[in-house]
Symmetry: C2
Subunit: 417 residues, 2 copies
Amino acid sequence: MPAKNAFYAQSGGVTAVINASACGVIETARQHKDKIANVYAGRNGIIGALTEDLIDTSQESDDDIAALRYTPAGAFGSCRYKLKSLEANRREYERLIEVFKAHNIGYFFYNGGGDSADTCYKVSQLSETLGYPVQAIHVPKTVDNDLPITDNCPGFGSVAKYIATSALEASFDVRSMAKTSTKLFVLEVMGRHAGWIAAAGGLIDDHGIPVLVLFPEIEFDQDRFMAKVKAMVEQHGYCTVVVSEGCHWPDGRFLAEQGTKDAFGHAQLGGAAPVVANMVKEALGYKFHWAVADYLQRAARHLASKTDVEQAYATGKAGVEFALAGHNAIMPTIKRVSSDPYRWEVGEAPLSEVANVEKFMPREFITEDGFGITAACKEYLLPLIQGEDYPPFTNGLPRFVTLKNAAVEKKLAAFEL
Amino acid sequence: MPAKNAFYAQSGGVTAVINASACGVIETARQHKDKIANVYAGRNGIIGALTEDLIDTSQESDDDIAALRYTPAGAFGSCRYKLKSLEANRREYERLIEVFKAHNIGYFFYNGGGDSADTCYKVSQLSETLGYPVQAIHVPKTVDNDLPITDNCPGFGSVAKYIATSALEASFDVRSMAKTSTKLFVLEVMGRHAGWIAAAGGLIDDHGIPVLVLFPEIEFDQDRFMAKVKAMVEQHGYCTVVVSEGCHWPDGRFLAEQGTKDAFGHAQLGGAAPVVANMVKEALGYKFHWAVADYLQRAARHLASKTDVEQAYATGKAGVEFALAGHNAIMPTIKRVSSDPYRWEVGEAPLSEVANVEKFMPREFITEDGFGITAACKEYLLPLIQGEDYPPFTNGLPRFVTLKNAAVEKKLAAFEL
């Protein structure tokens, strides 16, 4: 079979290690030039495919591709753009095929989360429905750790390590200050629906820190929370709270939606952390500090988990190997063989079972009172944050790569999104 | 001269490296047991001296004292408590002398910022004014970098490295997302009066990032800021803003004080970052993300600057050496010998010239338009963030030390603060 080209794109929110998956895809493809002539990356995700805005990765040096392994965020640009169903938007699928044909693309690697798995699944069906042969492989990526079947998602381990480390460090700080000043530290973390990242904050209780976790999976109960904070401060002198951005009231409203207005009458967008902090101040009078980590947590390549980097690379590599072995409509997964010592291998899952399924924290990973994590949860989490994998630093700052991202010459008429 | 004991205390907001100074003090004192019999640490700063709540550091192993070098925050507890003048509160000074006498304390090492230098200076005068011989040495510490005479303050280099690295990583993230999603990222940093920390965020423009810095030294001009943001987003597709918590309007009001009320009519405490982000959204419609680093930045020992750790240790060590050489009422300083290559040595400054003086960013370190840093500023900042000094990690998290902090037996009646 003559060689075909591959299309690779990054989708949705980026992570500290999504480029490590890109590195795995491209380096592995380069080892099989007899079958994969070139990897074209979509500039800004699937939009690059639709607009025929392709990046010629063959123009990047081996060194620069290797540097993707330690460079955070999406080197080719990502996007938030979900393909509708074939019935609802046949035009876009026909355009994809037109672009694939024009550039001899036979492999489609899509690096993203749940929505992206759905897009990838739809593309995988193009062979059948529109008669164009393409093998579509979804490479898993999400800080939220909410993809099904796979034991964990590349991207999560690093944010978990960052949040646990940051919460530990800040807790040492508040412990120092508690006698005459700050008694409460509130750290807001990502995870609108699933509390995996917040759970990582719970790991610090094994380091002697009084910590409460507020999960999106548990309805917020203000009275019980206040009683917990009070008890912890009375016992330890201080308390750390890790609150998920998805923490919500029984009626579904997020804590962050306070219905507050600014001086001009506009709705004030705050975070959950200041809301929780002010609530405690109001009820108990404790001086507080709060932090919202936001992008810092998912971009923090300087503190990536070595395990996570290895798994991100491995799923990218496996994606290419599965494709070369003729697979279609699948996602490489991480299969846990054992927790202690931690051993894992790459498996695969059919995209039909991955697309649009969210994996939440199981109830048995959350303590009975709803404010902490159980031993089973720690056994699950700890292997994922093992090992450090520091990027090189030059002149005091990480030396990340910015690729040339040269465009492939267009062959088609323009396409309106 | 028979050996005397030393008193050491940590004061004010803690840092990632204040314990490295403690390590320098205690390790150096241990090498001179003929002159310094023991180091008593104040539990929670000067409060520990006033309440005779002293920690016997001789009960800590050499290994645990060595581990202070890589443990963030204040190992003995800090406090926010400023001694009034001798005239205004003679009772507290007399109590200090009573405690010093009871525990044979002849050396006073106070590890803090500007307010603490003032306290230390007052204690240094006790020999003359109250007839008790004590040598008082101030060991500099502040993330704000606002102490005079010294070229820089231990604590600052690490927070600068953390902010520059975090801003760089998050900027790679927003650059990835900008096509269809986030175009503006706002990072709020510490520094109520002096913009040194914010300035560190400006270092990333040498890494190709369009970044604007909002300093407390420059009155906020909303129209000019908006024009800058617009121009940057139009040119680069995105923009990063690093805003100091001390950024304020021409009338002195902090940006963070928006006069907003929550649902119960209480004043809403937010940060400067959400205010700036919402302001841009309102004017230009850009989707944004914002982060407030708060304690994460000053506790981030995992990303400490090696230069900073070395200087923190060196000033602690020098403090003891100056005391043994008979000095009083001084602060060890960092003297810059050259910037490139960076060379420094320890000097000393009289406390009379340090106490209550704040050092702001010189105007020539800020670009003419007020939104960036100059080449001179970069030449000043870059040496301070050089080198990495990672703490050891065990099981995925940093292995920090928590000391035993055993109390010295009390000899005096209780004292009401």
